[in-house]
Symmetry: D3
Subunit: 230 residues, 6 copies
């Protein structure tokens, strides 16, 4: 899955952008629920800390739950973008309303909360989910694609969706294939996030340190061997 994400990010990056895709050493191997999201957030923080030490210009969190996004913005001087956020914001510029296409069914609450957090529920025509765990994307991609295309068609025909968001980083790479099939823009949040990061970098914009995203207060943190020892 990390390879697919890396390939998607690199396909659309600008020539002078360097992309390094990493998989953290803390967290679950896929993210299907809130429990996975909490644990993966630690891995995100871990990698942001490493990346800051290496002076990266910005960070993409390549999971559609945007795990640890707000925490990452607090600890980073460089901009940090989540792929759900990026896909949603970019979709608003090419469609009146979009639908999110993802899995598994239980993920409904997570997507609804993202829409509320970003404040754009009203631009979302529907959340269409198939009830298969994320991991099946690796073992049974062809079947998954058929199921997803079928849900996407319902989103367009019945819910009024004018663009489709791929609601899982594991779907990176199918965007243009789906787009051809469906006839509406299909957005991979990984690409969207890379492009917004490039835009922010060119413009010299980074996360405001005024109130919410001020650096965290210094304090003792227990546990997490290998992350906070330095």
């Amino acid at each position: 899955m990390t390879e697919g994400i890396d390939a998607a990010a690199k396909r659309y990056k600008r020539p002078d952008t360097e992309i390094v895709t990493v998989s953290p050493s803390y967290g679950p191997i896929t993210i299907d629920n809130f429990y996975d999201e909490v644990l993966s957030s630690v891995g995100v923080i871990q990698e942001i800390k490493k990346g800051l030490a290496e002076n990266f210009d910005g960070f993409v969190i390549a999971c559609f739950n945007d795990p640890g996004l707000q925490a990452s913005r607090e600890i980073s001087n460089a901009p940090v973008i989540g792929i759900a956020e990026a896909a949603m914001l970019l979709a608003c510029t090419v469609a009146y309303r979009f639908s999110v296409l993802s899995m598994p069914k239980r993920g409904l609450a997570a997507v609804r909360e993202l829409l509320k957090r970003y404040g754009i529920e009203d631009r979302c025509a529907s959340i269409r989910l198939i009830d298969v765990p994320v991991l099946e994307l690796e073992s049974n991609l062809a079947k998954m694609k058929r199921l997803l295309i079928s849900e996407a068609r319902k989103a367009i025909d019945m819910d009024g969706a004018e663009a489709i968001l791929l609601g899982c980083a594991g779907l990176s790479g199918v965007d243009k294939e789906f787009e051809k099939e469906l006839g509406v823009p299909v957005i991979d949040g990984v690409v969207a996030a890379v492009k917004i990061l490039e835009a922010l970098h060119d413009y010299g914009l980074t996360t405001s340190k005024s109130l919410t995203y001020r650096p965290p207060e210094k304090k003792v943190i227990l546990g997490f061997p290998g992350i906070f020892e330095d």
Copy 2:
């Protein structure tokens, strides 16, 4: 702080309720921001797992950020309550609108997101924050209380608050003192959560396992020594 929480929980519990207050071995010593919240969620999960092994009947997450609440509901058959959620819900039964009183100033976003998540923004008259880190509650309680009382008065007089929520577990124990001073109900979420947990237990209600809070899919989890090794 853990002692204060323990005392508050025990002061209002029913005689046949047994309360055990714990402080996890993963996480920051206080919670002032999203970064702290993410890390503390791991400690919450750790303790819920231990508690489940010991057959506890329910769990209170004693931090006003409600860290790891949704993840905890996924892994637990017993009900789990956050103190922000409990305080907000109970407040709705005694006041038309309430205000949240807390610290530090940067915490505004976190409280706003809780209100959105629980869907009751409209019942919140205002969020009144003083700009001091949570840890000062231990070193300088008298001054903190003066500052908080003064903000609470503004909430009542200027914002139309009819009840005050103590927006930090570190404030456990000041509820009745503040109530006397302010003349409106003052709610400690720790107590509210214990009482709602007792109510759920009596009624035989626990978290729905139908969609959002189904048990997490089994999968490999990296890192977190001591938590997932068993």
Copy 3:
């Protein structure tokens, strides 16, 4: 119907709680619409007045329209809870979203207004109503239960409901039977209200008298023989 309510309330109350169930001498015999609600509110006020004279510690308004709830809070020093409010608030602690199950179809507006008043529309997955008057619960319970179970299943399968609220006091007593059948928490507001009232009482909380629920201004009231003569 009053007997069913009494039985439900007593089944889950704490041993030291004393419950007295009354049926007022003003108002319609069942409540199906706004007209019934207005008239029943007078009966509610009448009984609260009597109860206050007898020093009751709290009041439950046992109709899912929560008739006269705000007026009752104004006249009472003891806490007053409506069963719709109680069921909705408690549901939020065990389910991401709930559905309301009730009758008749015309009641849609009333439930929608309660959700708006309590500010938690967003936690409601759907309102599922069968088009039969409340009174049929007495004459034809078996058939009503079949129809309601069938609607509840649709709420769970099609609307994403994770808990079911019994939207009528006449349904008191079927909660655990429905719960077994449906596999999700089923909440009887009568029980929910009793348990929240016990919680408030233990904690020493009562309605704020700060703004909205101040005692009514003294004034001449015409009509209503037997209610305001004292």
Copy 4:
């Protein structure tokens, strides 16, 4: 107060409109709170019933709480308008946002609930209240007018109000005087309701009997001597 309402209604009515202003024999003499509202709703129902027997073409409920409005729509074939509703709707056609000017301070919740019920919170710039009971309008009108004008000026200058709604039927008659003073439209809901009723009548529109406002189911109603005996 009834005289003032009658005069306002008649000042702007069309020549062929006949207006009869009545004061019911059930209910409080003024309406300051939810308790008064519930009791006054009975009087409203009583008078609508009488009016229906006399074949009136429509009804105005002349209190800014719109007491009993929905119940009245259920029992009446002729249209029924509340003065808050009428003032708010008409204001939307002459101002981007309006403010409600009323009394006493505790009335905030009632106005907020009306705005939610009618669904137009977003068009309301502010609710400005002075803390005096309605009855003082009779005993101390000059002082009340000074206080109200001063609040209205704040609504215009600080809140962006572009029109002022007189939030109490007791203010009927001061509209044009206030308008001259303030330089923005000032709307008396009594007049607004009469004019909308005339409009509905001309167009042959009356309350939909399709779902919410179907006639109430026939049933036994206890109490209320003189109202339901026929």
Copy 5:
């Protein structure tokens, strides 16, 4: 189409109201989309300017997109009403929720934006559209009426609509015929706007000039021969 609008307006006007129906010399011949709306707004401004020179007492913009409504309010001392706005506001007085019936399908966004602008989304049960351009109303009225009636029935039976708004001025005149067929109020915005304008005129109300609708700042305007040359 202009004739149908003229006839509808005149059918329900008061005897002393004089109505002049005009078709501007700038703009598209029908309005199906945002592009048409922008261009038609210029024609609306042109006619309002002419009408102001002739001292008309008020203006109705007879297109359900309400094109140029806010601009017109800025330049006019006399009140200006859009037919969507008028139909929506009047519907609120006779139905708990209404549905909009219109064409073509792409018009969904426009109606949604009107509902948001007027702030009454919550009163709209559904937007039901048939996918035929407005112009077909002239060439194939019988078929269009069948399709629309069928959609309206779905709105009533499936969406809970209690009134139907004719969402296109081209439908002026079918209101009472549809009403008879459907059994719920059917509202033609042209009539609604005329009646509200009469109401405003009787009451002496006109657009507030306080903030949003102040007269436009004097400035050079390029292009638009025949409109700004004077």
Copy 6:
């Protein structure tokens, strides 16, 4: 003003991006109100049509009212971005909440409607306006900057703004100067729109032609000499 916009756009564009800044021959010379907005929309359409004939890859509408944005999306195969929309969306990636800084005071309604249209009201901390027409930016820039900086400080200190949006294309070029002064990100929508357009182009995304933004139906358009003659 056009020069300032051109300079800002070119300062942050990528080396291989070619920018052509034009001023249309239809419309007012500045945009302060809805009337100006309607008329300027025609000029926007005119220039988009020209640009399409010359095969431009995308279009920026350089006015913070985003005039004609939706109409432009209908007629263009290439993406079209408004500067308000671009600034708001980009701000969401660097700040929890932003404030809009603009003029004149009457512009409040326009900004509020944009926030509603884009669905992100909740991310806006405040709209801070000074009461001076846009044209004064040319004649009295130094004074305007002082007034605006002072309002921006209030937005940050009192409203919790974490980023400032320059709410007028006439402010293009002051972003980095203001940013230095204020200590939070200051966003010029012109730059934001150029960067998002580049992002869309790289990714091969353009406006969905599925529902809302389908090409307009062919039809006769009257007036507008020089625009629709071809």
